[in-house]
Every structure is written in structure tokens, then in C-alpha cells.
Amino acid sequence: MEDFAQPIVNGILLGGLYAIIAIGMSTMFGIVKLVNLAHGDLMILGSFLSLSLGTWMGIGPLWTLLLVVPIMYFVGFFVQGFLLNRVLGKEMEPPLLVAFGVSIILQNLLLMIYTPDARSLMTDLAVKTIPITSYLNIPVIYLLDALIGVAVITILYLLFQRTYLGRAIRAASDDEVAARLMGVNTRNIYAKAMGIAMMSAGVAGVLVGMTFTFYPHTGPQYLIIAFGVVVIGGLGSMKGTLAGGLILALSQLLGAQIFGPGYQLFCGYVVLLIVLAVRPQGIFGTV
């Protein structure tokens, strides 16, 4: 049992991080049926933004959130409003291709500016732990990831449930024509929704940057995590996203504990496949 305490605790905490990585993508899929292939790269853009702002202004990564989050809102608003909205329509392929294009452009842009070197967002928290027992420590950075992840998802939930903007987003995803008849400018609403999704991706990017190293090409790796979370948890529910993050992270870390570190990703995919086979709509999915 002692061997499993640490991976279980880490898995639970990492689950919160996975959930916030995925929430923006899950939200956008729910709203405009867009599989945002650039989601991971946009998140990594958040990491690099934080890196530059932190160095330039001499502030810690968490403080850079105050700038990264609003900047990411405008990035999202722009990507949806000026690129994706133009190809929105009956078919799924054109938006998919545009998102793919955004992904490639972003990766190469980051490569040009930042070189392929590994980076991380320096913080004292990265090495701090809270000792619980002789065999169990809580890594402070993981704890922070989980707390911020859950907080952001809760805020998003409240926004979607309680505000006119949130209801308009849900209404537009339910029936676009009817939403327009209520006075909703749906194109504008989609851009705002993407802006909000990217705000959460910005937070995720900063947390990921504080927790792991990142490169201009790290985006797709997180896109796959986001996919995994969404597939396991089911689309369109915040509960599902949290549960999906938890299950994916736990299965990765427990798998690594049982079979060895080389099997971490593999075990995540196995659980993914099992969920796909048994419950393709995801654990909390409805359709």
C-alpha cells in the first residue's frame, strides 16, 4: 500500500491540471462542434507568453497570469472571430483544417522566436513539498495545479449557468437560429466563447510551464491529453471533464508504478481504449 500512496495522491492532483488543460477544448467542441487541433499549441503559447512577460518584467509566473489571461482572451477571440467563423457551416472538415493550420503556424512561430530549447517557468514552488508521512509527500506545485484547475472550472461553470453570456453560449450551441431570434449575435458569441476557452488554456499553459518543461513542439502532447480527458469524461459536462482528468492521470501514474515509468503513457491510452469500447459517449456523456 505504501508504494501506491504517492502515485494516487499525485494522480489526483495531476487530474485537476489535466482537467483545466481539457476544459477549453471540450467547451468549444460542445458549442461549435469544433475539434480545435490547435488547442495544445495555443496553451503552450500561454506558457511562452508567461516566460517572456516574466523575464521582461521580472515577475513570477503566477503574477504573469494577470496579463497572460487577458491576452489569451483576445487571441481566442481573434482565432474564432476572424478565422474559424469564416468556415463555420455544415461540414466539419474546413474548421478542422483551419485549426490544423493555426497549430502549424503557431509551432513554427514559437520555434522561430524561442529556438527549440527546453524551457520552464522558474518558481520556488516547484521543489517544495509538504511531508505527510515517511513515505508520502505532497508536491506543492501539484497541489497548486489542482486547486487552480478546480477553481477555474468552477468559475467557468458559474459563468455558463448564471450569466446572460453563458446562457447565450449554451443556447447558441443548442439551436443557433433560435438564439439569433432571441437577439444573440451568434458569431460574436462564438468568438467570445473561444476567448473564454483560451483564458482557461492560458492558465493551463502557465501551470504546465511551472510544473514541466516545454518546447515549441509540446502542444500536440497536451492536445492528446485533452482528447483523452474529453473521451473519458464525456463532452459538455464540467463534472465529466474533472472526472476524465482524474481517471487519465491516475491510470498513468498507477500504471507507471506497477509496470515501470516507461508504461505511463501506455496505461493512459489503455484506459482510454477501455472507456471507448465500453462507454463511447464517455462516463458522464449523454449522447
Partner: protein, 238 residues
């Protein structure tokens, strides 16, 4: 008192790509009136309402709302001006609760401050919507969904409401009930345009009626002045 025109549609054409769906349609709706538009399937009734509310842009002609040209406005602008459409097939937000649907009706900035009062009024008008307020809209019966669609359209405090086949697929009892409520709000001053296939019911309710056929207005007049024979001929294009 001089009669005020709520809506004046003049010489209106509308197309779906190359297909012309409306041909020089003209129609007047006076403030406070109930106007019926009847016509067979595919005669262009929904197209006309959709064009008035801005879902479709006319290719020719004008639409004036209380004297103001609104022909090229998009839907979120026409709602703000005070035109509400109850669309064909109800189109309630299935994954929103009944109350959330109603609150969406008060989305335009003009009506947001009065949201709570409007909600209370709709709950009084359709008590069943109050009883079901926290249910998802797709759990409602067809009649209840139609009431919700009407209630939602009223939440924006419109000056004019356009109703597209609100009796379609509903039991006669329910239709009678819904019409009773509509006449009640008309008595309070709301101008109403009714699109129906049910000739008798909509003629009974209307101050003025238009018959459409193949995208054109082929007959109009006060229901009392129209003979049944005349209407049938126009309706079927005999």
C-alpha cells in the same frame, strides 16, 4: 384616432440562392391588429416571416416597422426593435431549463431590466410553465413546448409578435387554450401576425387576412368580407 401602421411590407422579393420564394409581396399590419396569413405548404409563409425578422435578406422591396426601414437588419437587431418571431417547429432550447429558455427571451439589453416582471407575467399567462420551471425543455409535451416558445418570444416585450404555425400537431383543446391567451395579450395592445394552415381558426381570430400561393399574395381582406369559396379558390389556386 388615426390608425398607426405597425408593419408595412411593400413589393418584397426573397430568394434562396436562385430560387425565388417571394414575389412582390405587400402587406400592412395596423397597430393592435391580429393579421392572419394562410396558404398551403410551400406557399412562402415562413419565408415571409423569416424575412421580416431578418433571418433572410430581401432581394427587393421594403419592410417598415413603425415607419422605420428594417429590411436589411439582422435578427438580433429586429428583436431589439421590437419584433419577436415564434419560429416554425417551436425551436425551444432543449438542453436549457424552462426558466432559462424564458430568460433567454429577455436577452436584448432593452428587456433585461424587466426580466423578473416579464417572467412573472409569463408564469401567469401559462401557469404550466411555472410548474415546470426547472425542467429541461425537452421533457415538455408538444403543447407545453409551444407555450414556452410563445412565452419566450414575449419575454423581449415585443411590439409585434409573428407566430409561425403555432397550432401544428397540437390537440384542439390545447390550440383553443393557446389562442385564448394570445387574444388576451392582443387585448392588452400587442400586435400579432398569425401564420396558419388551419383556415377556419385563423380567420376567426383575425382582423385582416392574407392568402398566399406560390410566393404571392393572391387574396386579402377582412375575414367577414371573404367568402369561403373565394378563400378556398385562392388557397388552392383553382
Amino acid at each position: 384616432m388615426a390608425e398607426v401602421l405597425a408593419l408595412r411590407v411593400f413589393d418584397l422579393d426573397a430568394h434562396y440562392k436562385d430560387f425565388q420564394a417571394l414575389w412582390a409581396v405587400s402587406l400592412d399590419v395596423k397597430k393592435g391588429e391580429v393579421v392572419s396569413i394562410i396558404g398551403a405548404n410551400g406557399s412562402g409563409k415562413s419565408t415571409l416571416l423569416n424575412t421580416i425578422s431578418g433571418l433572410l435578406t430581401p432581394t427587393r422591396g421594403t419592410i417598415e416597422f413603425f415607419g422605420q426601414e428594417i429590411g436589411d437588419l439582422v435578427p438580433h437587431k429586429t428583436v431589439a426593435e421590437g419584433i419577436s418571431l415564434v419560429p416554425e417547429g417551436r425551436r425551444v432550447f432543449t438542453r436549457l431549463t424552462v426558466n432559462e429558455n424564458l430568460v433567454m427571451g429577455s436577452y436584448v439589453p432593452r428587456s433585461r431590466p424587466n426580466k423578473n416582471k416579464s417572467l412573472k407575467d409569463i408564469h401567469e399567462l401559462f401557469p404550466v410553465l411555472k410548474a415546470r420551471q426547472n425542467q429541461m425543455a425537452d421533457t415538455l409535451s408538444g403543447g407545453e413546448q409551444q407555450m414556452l416558445a410563445i412565452g419566450r418570444a414575449l419575454m423581449s416585450e415585443p411590439k409585434l409578435i409573428l407566430c409561425d404555425e403555432i397550432s401544428l400537431g397540437l390537440a384542439p383543446m390545447i390550440i383553443k387554450d393557446i389562442y385564448k391567451r394570445l387574444m388576451q395579450i392582443n387585448a392588452e395592445g400587442l400586435t400579432i401576425v398569425l401564420v396558419e394552415q388551419d383556415i377556419r381558426r385563423s380567420l376567426k381570430a383575425a382582423n385582416h387576412a392574407y392568402v398566399m400561393l406560390e410566393g404571392k399574395v393572391v387574396l386579402e381582406g377582412e375575414p367577414s368580407s371573404l367568402t369561403e369559396d373565394e378563400v378556398k379558390k385562392a388557397y388552392f389556386g383553382l
